[in-house]
Structure formats: structure tokens, C-alpha cells
Amino acid sequence: MTDAIAYSSKLRKINPQTKTWFALCTLFLCVFMHDIYVSIIVIAFMWSVIFYGCKIRAHELFHLIAIPVLFLIMSMAAIILNISGTPEKLLALPFFGKYITCSKESVYKGISTIITAFSAVSCMYFYALTTPLNDMIAVMQKLKISDVITELFMLIYRFIFMLLDIAEDIFTAQKCRLSEKNIKIYLKSTAILCSVLFIRAFKRADILYTAMESRGYDGRINTLKKKFEKNFKITVFAVFFDLFLIALYIWRK
């Protein structure tokens, strides 16, 4: 789903190398500086860019951030709340002879941690929602990451959708023949689905190899590397944004 949004995003045309470095650097800055103001600025910036650049609907947004936000809230609870014998002033609930309790410091720590974490998540969302996967692969190729990895990435990206499609088709075909009648039949047909998928994957791989050989495959997947437009203004802006974060951090110390 993120890939579809990224594909129609206004920011897709921006050089993916710039976007990669910007997202990565900002992410590292957030994590290492662990500063609440820096993180808030990053969150505000990233999400305003996402809302400006991508047509994203409310329920899509909910689907996207529900899981990370849930995790963050759970971990925040774990950081803030303590079980100890001595009750703190802020909150203390009796719990089997001890207290579930939290102090001012632990609340502050919890909130700053969750905001930092959310800013890092925002950086990743910015990247995922503005850069389609095939641009990411192109960046990997540019960065001279080992061919094995980029080739694997490419093939997985292509075939994961195909596998999902086939699985869905088989599943529908099974449902049409009452595979959901009772739990026993359901489990049995799911098992058949899995084994059939496995066999089909092997067959596909075999035919694909023939197809690649027919086009002169010699052990390496040679494809043209995409040329990206350089956009000086945006690069400069990205650098200044990160420098500004560093400056803010130093000033606050």
C-alpha cells in the first residue's frame, strides 16, 4: 500500500538519493540527540510534507500508523509505570501489597522517549511514502551495494505481489467450492493452498530461468541504471534542515 501512495506522491520526482540521505541523516540525528524539541520539529516537518505531497485518506493513515503508535504507547506505559514498594507522589495504585507508581522524572522520560521514537518512525514514513521501491533499488545500485542483495531485492519485490495474487486466486477458488464449511475442511484446504503455492513457486522459477536464458542471462542481472535529475535547491534545503537541528541541539545544551 505504501508503494502505491509513493507512486502517486508529488515528491516522487525528487532525486531518491537526496531523499534517502535526508531521511537517514534526520533519523540518526533524532535518535542520537534524543531531544524533545528537535523531535517535535522533525515530526511536524515530516508529516506536513507527507500531507502536502501525498494524497492520503484518513483510513489509510490510520492503517499505516496504528501499529507503530500502539507499540509506542505500550512501551511508554512500561517506561512510565513502575512496580515498587514505595509509592511516588504523582500516582500510586495498590497492587498485591506493592504499588504501581510513577514519578515526574519517569513521566518526562517516557514522553521524551516516545516522541523521539515517533520522530524516527516519521522519517521512515516520509521515505516510504515518497519513494517507490524501484527507486530505492536504483539507489541501492548507485551506492554499489552488493549485486546479490540488489538482485534479490528486485526479484522479491516483483514476485511477492505475484505470489500474493496467486494465493488469493486459489483461496477464492477454494471458497467457491465451500472450503469454509467447517474448521476441518478449512484447515485442510489451507494446507493444500500452502503446498500448491510452494510447487507453483518452483515451476515459476523454472520457467523464469528459461525466459532469462532466452534473453542471454549470464549469471548477473544487468539492467540500466536510472539517471536522476539533480535538484540543487532541495539538496541545499535538506542539508540546512539537518544543520538547523544540530544547531538547535547545541544551543539547548
Partner: protein, 278 residues
């Protein structure tokens, strides 16, 4: 010199059942050939013999007068010249996006990247796929995938181009596009072989028709002769093209007089209007 000469070729996938049982065939440069025959009659098996994927157990195949050299280098050279468009584009396309897909074969041929980029650019404009060049392959429709599958073979400019049931499972719009592409490729001095189950297309498009049945070639000649031969049609379990059925019935009932065998609906229309005017 023949472009391809097949001499008494036998081939079996599993060593028991023969998929090809002694095939003899010569193909000349600039021919426009259609292969017909039921599923599993050996058409695709023979195609993969042409580009060296299948190595016949008996008999030999000559390309440009030379026996096929099954060494790595020889095969690479052969596959430059014999391009096959697969029936199922999902089996042929494997790259993340269309641009990379089309460049794959070119770079394997040893074309330098600048030239390859130019060729990809040209072919995508020519085949009108430049609007989705940067799209991931899984996001394309079936017809678009087929166009890409044809483009990424055509870009290699092979001497012989084989299209395995190119119009199967396509909507009328894309069928039309694919047929136009086939004609365009033929016009660029490429020998074209198409396998099809569409008898009317076989009749109207091809100069030569080769009929397969059960691993053998049972007829070879002009499509209008072969497709009006009831013996061949029934032996290969095929069906006569509608145009020929109509033509024969009209001859029988005396509505039109015997003329050159029509190849298309519009030709037969003309015969009818002519006879009414007369």
C-alpha cells in the same frame, strides 16, 4: 541459405514421451509464418529448440547455414538472433520496473549503457509504452504487460522473432495493438513466427502456415490452401476459419462464383456485393 533448417528433429522432455517426433522444416528470411495446432502439439517445444533452450536428442538444427553451437558463447550469439515472446508475460518479466526490464536483454548482448538507453527510449516511444516506463511491472494491466514483453524482445532486434500465442487472453483493444506491433516488427526486416489458435487471424495475416499435430508437422503451405483442406483441419482437430466457411457455403448455394480464396471478411463482402450488382 535458409535462416533456419530443421532436419529430422526429435525431442523429449522426460526421455519417454516424445514431444517432437521427427520434424523437418526450413524457414527463409523475411517470411511471415503462422504455427497452428492444438495445445501440446509441439509448437512451443520447437520454438525452444530454435534458440537452444531445448537440445534435440536426434537430428540437427542449422541457423544461417551453420549447425547450432551449444557452447555458452554460441548460445549467446544464437539468442541475440532468435527472440521469443512468451505466451504468459508474467513468466517473462521479472524486473522491478519496465525501464529495467527492457534494458536487460540489451545489456546481456554487450551493448554499452548510452546506446542501450537510447534504444530503450526509441522502442518505448515506437511501441507507445513510454507513459508507463517507470511503473512497477505488477501494477500493469495484462495488455500492458504483453506490450512490454514484446518490446523487451524487439529492442534486441533479433533476426527471427517468435511470438507464442501473442493475443491469447487479451481484450479487443490490446489484441489490435499487439497485432499492429507484430506487423511493425515484420516491416523492420525481421522474420516473424506467430503461434495462434485464431484461425481467421492465421488466414488473413500469414504468408505461410505450418500445422502441428502430435509432435509432427502435418501440413505446410499457403494458409488459404491449408485451411480449406478438410482433411488437415479434422486431423489436427482445428476449425475452419469463418471466412472460409462462409465462402464455401456461398459457392455451394450459388450466390457467388468461384474466385480467388478470400482472406478477410471485407474481401468476401466485396464478392457478395459484386455478384448482386451483376
Amino acid at each position: 541459405m535458409h535462416l533456419i533448417e530443421v532436419k529430422n528433429v526429435e525431442f523429449s522432455y522426460d526421455g519417454k514421451n516424445k514431444a517432437l517426433k521427427g520434424v523437418n522444416l526450413t524457414i527463409e528470411k523475411g517470411e511471415k509464418i503462422v504455427f497452428i495446432g492444438s495445445n501440446g502439439s509441439g509448437k512451443s517445444t520447437l520454438f525452444f529448440c530454435f534458440n537452444g533452450i531445448n537440445k534435440p536428442q536426434k537430428g540437427e538444427i542449422l541457423f544461417n547455414g551453420k549447425k547450432i553451437d551449444y557452447s555458452r558463447k554460441g548460445l549467446l550469439e544464437l539468442r541475440k538472433n532468435v527472440g521469443i515472446v512468451f505466451q504468459e508475460p508474467d513468466n517473462q518479466l521479472f524486473c522491478a520496473d519496465v525501464f529495467q526490464e527492457i534494458s536487460f536483454g540489451l545489456l546481456n548482448m554487450g551493448v554499452c549503457s548510452e546506446e542501450a538507453a537510447e534504444k530503450v527510449d526509441n522502442i518505448s516511444k515506437e511501441m507507445e509504452i513510454n507513459t508507463f516506463l517507470d511503473r512497477p511491472v505488477h501494477a500493469l494491466s495484462g495488455g500492458q504487460k504483453k506490450q512490454v514483453a514484446i518490446a523487451d524482445i524487439a529492442v534486441m532486434e533479433p533476426k527471427l522473432m517468435i511470438l507464442d500465442e501473442p493475443a491469447s487472453a487479451l481484450d479487443p483493444k490490446h489484441k489490435k495493438i499487439v497485432r499492429k506491433l507484430t506487423d511493425d516488427i515484420y516491416k523492420r526486416n525481421t522474420t516473424v513466427i506467430v503461434s495462434t489458435h485464431d484461425m481467421d487471424y492465421a488466414l488473413s495475416w500469414a504468408d505461410r502456415c505450418v500445422v502441428f499435430d502430435n509432435g509432427k508437422i502435418i501440413a505446410d503451405g499457403k494458409p488459404e490452401d491449408i485451411l480449406s483442406d478438410d482433411n488437415v483441419i479434422s486431423q489436427a482437430n482445428l476449425e475452419q476459419p469463418d471466412v472460409l466457411k462462409l465462402y464455401k457455403n456461398m459457392l455451394k448455394s450459388g450466390i457467388i462464383k468461384e474466385k480467388k480464396v478470400p482472406k478477410t471478411i471485407s474481401e468476401i463482402e466485396k464478392y457478395i456485393t459484386d455478384s448482386f450488382q451483376a
